[in-house]
Amino acid sequence: MYQDVILDHYKNPHGRGLRDGDAEVHHVNPTCGDEITLRVKYDGTRIADVSYEGQGCSISQASASVLNDLLVGKDLTEAQRIQETFLELMQSKGRIEPDDAMEEVLEDAVAFAGVSKYPARVKCALLSWMAWKDATAQALEADAERKTA
């Protein structure tokens, strides 16, 4: 399961560190204590930044780095499609062999296909993605409130 891509991201995480954002969330994986603090910054519907700080295993750390690579600069709808595809892959219990179409969407993240065989580790891989989803929902809500106010 430890693909080189994963180890590379773990050792040299992309976009790590907390920067300015529209919303911040803190998520914990109770089974192993992995933690992440994550902020999203939107520019309209475009993701301007995803910044994060956390502690945890190589899988959760590398996954956050890959997320940053994949989502920053994307439009929200596109980002959601990526997130859903990643979720689908991680919940596949090793039964999905990523094809070219999936690789097109997930890029480096297809390296996590092997992790999906290990139920105890799937939550690690999903930690930052769940945090991103949550932070995005909060940012959108805050934005909506601002507009109606």
């Binding site: 914990v28 109770p30 089974t31 192993c32 290990y118 139920p119 105890a120 580790r121």
Partner: protein
């Protein structure tokens, strides 16, 4: 040999149950008619349990090593099987306990510690029936004592059925919970779920069904029952001892507080406070009965291969036959419905004034194993003014020949004490 419509091929089935080959008292073939107390276990279940220990045994959840992942998959796989067996909308509604008694206590305690609108307290009422097993009486008596709530119950008719004539006075706006048995372990009565559930829903009371004598013997569908909780126990349905089930509606399990505290049921713990895992884990403190859950899964596979419909038909035919044959025994009085209609495969009776202990003992000397006493339902004995009963109860491996052996045995009992 007696031929009845709907019978299973018991000769083939009996080969799966090693204990049924036993001889007792110097050469008497065992005639096991104590299935309402506990069932025997097929080879398939024993093998699944042994295989679990011989190849996969590890503590479940949180492990990253192979055995821990495999053991977890087997344990959670058993939960899937139970969910399918009772047609649960979600696998997360299936809680593993140690037996039906714990399941029922769990419900009583959840409600005692719950917030509104579920909380049972001084101004509220609990409804049960007079035909409950002690395990569905005492938890509610304790809850009533400890909260000040009032305990009410449905009485019984002379022919062993629930007397629902005053249902609107018993289940009222004050009622928080109605808990009753689907099939009585002493009378054999199958209760009219719909009428009770309808009235409970009318007043917004929760419904808990004790399906301990139903799950082993007939198709069980928690959605069709429209109950909020359904409890049953593994050892009566071909599974190991040490495992029970509580099914509960998801929203309720989310809202209700935990009961036992400890490992596995938490989300995060500090010395100052803790938060709890989502159901079902919230209600499964400590290392669960892992091998026993695996055994229950194997038992369900076994029963479903034969088919719950066919098991029901088999037992109905046997019960019909037994009721007829027993009615011909002089001085024998059936306690409970006199026909096989709406009736499970447990038949209680008295025999003149020969005490059940003596009936049971003399039957045993002939190899016929029945249960005697109150069957953990003493209020029923009080209701019918009898000290105790003798109870014969059947299962998928029971045969008409065994009922014949029972009837012959009773003849012998009468002569012996006559």
């Amino acid at each position: 040999m007696t031929q009845l419509p709907g019978l299973l091929d018991t000769e083939a089935i009996r080969k799966d149950f090693p204990v049924l080959d036993r001889v007792v008292h110097d050469g008497k073939k065992l005639v096991y008619l104590d299935n309402a107390a506990t069932s025997q276990k097929p080879r398939q279940v024993l093998d699944a349990v042994s295989e679990y220990y011989e190849r996969y045994n590890a503590n479940v959840h949180r492990g990253v090593h192979v055995l821990a992942e495999e053991a977890t998959a087997l344990y959670e796989g058993a939960r899937d099987k139970v969910a399918e067996f009772v047609n649960a909308p979600s696998r997360d509604e299936v809680i593993f306990t140690k037996n039906a008694s714990e399941s029922l206590n769990l419900v009583a305690n959840m409600l005692g510690w719950a917030d509104e609108p579920y909380r049972v307290d001084r101004d509220t009422e609990i409804v049960i029936t007079e035909m409950e097993h002690h395990s569905n009486i005492v938890p509610w008596q304790l809850l009533a004592q400890r909260t000040g709530a009032k305990l009410k119950w449905f009485g019984l008719t002379d022919d062993g059925r629930l007397d629902l004539s005053n249902i609107d006075r018993i289940i009222t706006e004050k009622t928080k919970i109605v808990s009753f048995v689907l099939v009585s372990n002493i009378l054999g009565t199958v209760n009219p779920v719909e009428a009770i559930v309808r009235r409970a829903q009318e007043v917004g009371a929760l419904v808990c069904i004790d399906a301990s004598q139903a799950a082993p013997h007939m198709p069980l569908d928690v959605q069709a029952l429209q109950a909020d909780f359904v409890a049953f126990t593994g050892h009566k349905m071909c599974a190991p001892t040490g495992i029970g089930v509580l099914w509960g509606r998801q929203e309720l399990l989310e809202d209700l507080p935990p009961f036992l505290g400890g490992g596995e049921m938490i989300e995060t713990v500090s010395m100052h406070s803790s938060t709890y895992a989502p159901a079902p884990h919230k209600f499964e403190a400590g290392t669960p009965p892992i091998a026993q859950a695996v055994g229950l899964g194997a038992a369900i596979d076994y029963l479903r291969t034969i088919g719950m419909d066919r098991i029901l038909a088999h037992e109905h035919a046997l019960t019909d036959y037994a009721v007829q044959r027993l009615s011909q025994v002089p001085d024998l009085r059936i306690i409970g419905p006199a026909t096989a209609e709406d009736r499970g495969a447990a038949i209680s009776f008295t025999l003149g004034d020969i005490h059940p202990h003596d009936v049971g003992q003399v039957l045993d000397e002939q190899g016929v194993a029945v249960r005697v006493g109150h069957h953990c339902a003493r209020p029923v004995c009080l209701r019918y003014g009898i000290p105790a009963t003798t109870r014969a109860s059947f299962y998928l491996y029971s045969s008409p020949a065994e009922i014949d052996a029972l009837v012959d045995g009773l003849e012998h009992v009468r002569n012996f004490f006559g």
